[in-house]
């Protein structure tokens, strides 16, 4: 029976590392620009669909190559979001930005429907039984998901702590006006944030699509969990996003052992609710900023 719980926790870690990949972009955008980006979910979806497009006829690149143009285009969408919508709105009140991001999300999601239809799609990967460790089954893609999450977070950690760009990024998130007065290149920082957010979301989307299948709602469905992870970890805190994502993944998967799976989401939401009440500022109690 212990195998059962271990397997649930392993599943939770897999789900959680994907939530974390989605959450970190949200957290960075929130940390610096102080708004919740609803259209973040669409970067996830577009990443997945673009990889599908480049890996299937007529282009038919091998999957590992298809990922490159797919991520580049996802980054393009991310930068375009900022350039055409969020930058002009930077001085507006929060609710306008929020509504704009909702509109953008609607626009992009329906774009997917227009080009690929509402039907679900999948990368027809060869199917195989997972690798067995004792009682635990885990598939290659799941291992890849966890490893990618680890790799991405390590790169991010390195970038933020060891490079000048990372330091300016953190400075900007502490105080955006002061940083620009101090001569930090705001454009460069902004670009970095959107590139990172898009790459993380796009890669997460591709991994999720490899693991399951693609449909236009996949981004939206993951978004509430990612929001929750951000909130749990303390908005604007990327490590918080990782811990928050894993926490939500593990909790909701473990809960299935004790209650009806009907309430799987209820448990994770309920937990968010209770945690917010105990610690209104998230796990790490940090007022904001990218750390």
């Amino acid at each position: 029976m212990t195998g059962y719980y271990t397997q649930l926790i392993v599943n939770g870690i897999v789900a959680g590392s994907i939530y974390a990949l989605f959450a970190v972009g949200l957290a960075m955008v929130y940390g610096v620009f102080k708004f919740i980006n609803f259209s973040h979910g669409e970067l996830i979806t577009w990443g997945g669909y673009l990889a599908l497009m480049f890996s299937s006829p007529p282009i038919a690149l091998p999957l590992y190559l298809a990922v490159i143009p797919a991520l580049l285009l996802t980054v393009g969408i991310g930068l375009a979001q900022d350039c055409f919508v969020f930058r002009p709105l930077r001085q507006s009140n929060p609710i306008s930005i929020l509504i704009a991001s909702i509109g953008l999300s609607y626009l992009l999601r329906n774009g997917i429907r227009l080009f690929w239809g509402s039907d679900l799609q999948s990368f027809n990967l060869p199917l195989s039984t997972g690798i067995i460790f004792g009682d635990i089954y885990i598939t290659r893609i799941q291992i890849l998901m966890v490893l990618s999450a680890l790799l991405f977070f390590s790169i991010l950690y390195f970038l933020l702590t060891r490079t000048l760009l990372g330091k300016s990024l953190r400075a900007v998130s502490d105080n955006i006006e002061l940083s620009s007065i101090m001569g930090i290149n705001m454009r460069k920082v902004t670009w970095t944030i959107w590139i990172l957010a898009s790459v993380f979301a796009g890669s997460g989307g591709i991994l999720l699509a490899l693991d399951t299948s693609l449909d236009p709602m996949m981004g939206m469905n993951s978004l509430i969990k990612a929001f929750a992870a951000v909130l749990l970890g303390g908005a604007g805190n990327i490590w918080g996003a990782l811990v928050g994502g894993l926490f939500i993944g593990i909790t909701e998967n473990l809960s299935v052992a004790f209650i009806s799976p009907d309430y799987k989401d209820f448990i994770s939401y309920g937990l968010i609710f209770i945690l917010l009440l105990i610690k209104p500022r998230g796990f790490f109690g940090i007022a904001g900023g990218v750390r």
Binding site: G117, S118, L120, S122, T212, M217, N221, P261
Partner: protein
Amino acid sequence: MKKFVFSTIAILFLISAGRVTAGDISVGSVTPLTGKLAVYGEGFQQAMLLAADEINAAGGIKGNSFKIVFEDNNSTSKGSVSAIRKLITIDKLPLIFGPASSSNFLAVCPIAEDNKIVLLAAESAAASISKCGSYVFRVFPSDLLQGVGVAELTKSLGYKEVVLTYVNNDWGVGLAEVFKTEFTAAGGKIIDELPHAEGKTDYRSEILRMKSQHPKAIVNLTYIKEGATILKQAYEMGLKVQWLMGSASKSAKLIDLAGKASEGVIGTYPTFSQETPQYKSFKAAWEKKYPGKKTPVFGEYNYDMVKLTALALESASSNSSDDIREALLKVSKGYIGTTGDKSFDENGDVNASYGQWTIKDGKISDYK
């Protein structure tokens, strides 16, 4: 603001005036073209259009061309109500094909009944639709029949204890209830029962819970996408059981998505022979109009529904809904479509025999 409202109303009526051209015989259809059911809606629409093309190619109805006015319902009950009200009062259509999904269909039922509009269903299975009223017909058999079918299949394969899982929506819950009653009444035992949420990408924990019961067979009443995901993930997790499924997952798409994990699945479906001339001509026509596309789930039912409607319109003495209703009852008697006998009973339901399907060598075939 008043100006705005009035101008909108004016535009509404201006456009609608030009809408129904003389010499057309039109019927309406509330179809999920957006929202969560859009996956199926496109297929329904294509099947209906195929039938309409054939009707027109054969000279239309009483010399007029036959037309279907499609309204999207956004897969919601609110959208369905808006769509049907528009079809009834603006297009003034006497006959409407109702929306997919029993919950959306139940929302429009009272409106059709109050306005005395003939309402047809091609894929809504809930047992309660039988009680909708005298203007409501469906060419698809009720859940009651299918629930019994799955229970019989399970028993005939010799499984006394099963785990039951179903998609948590109107269709899944309705079917599971009937199955449970039938199966336990016949002495079967349900070891564990768990619904799974619609539209998820990760069901591993649910599968794990099923696995922890060590069942020999799992009854999985679900849709294509959910079904494929569950089969795939169960395969990856080394769960080897006999899967028993319902009609909504009987689709080539399931094999596309789940690959060899779908091998050996057995299910029930309202059977109709694929050897009849009716089915063969449908299949040929489909492949001609939509080359390379597989026939959609319930496509045959949508096709039959339109064909039957055309017959009723042809023989109805006028274009009023009461006459059409009479004619529909009359022409349906003994009508054999691609999906078999479509004779309506007093509730507007059809009878069906349940066949068994299985997936073998990547193809859907009859289970014997």
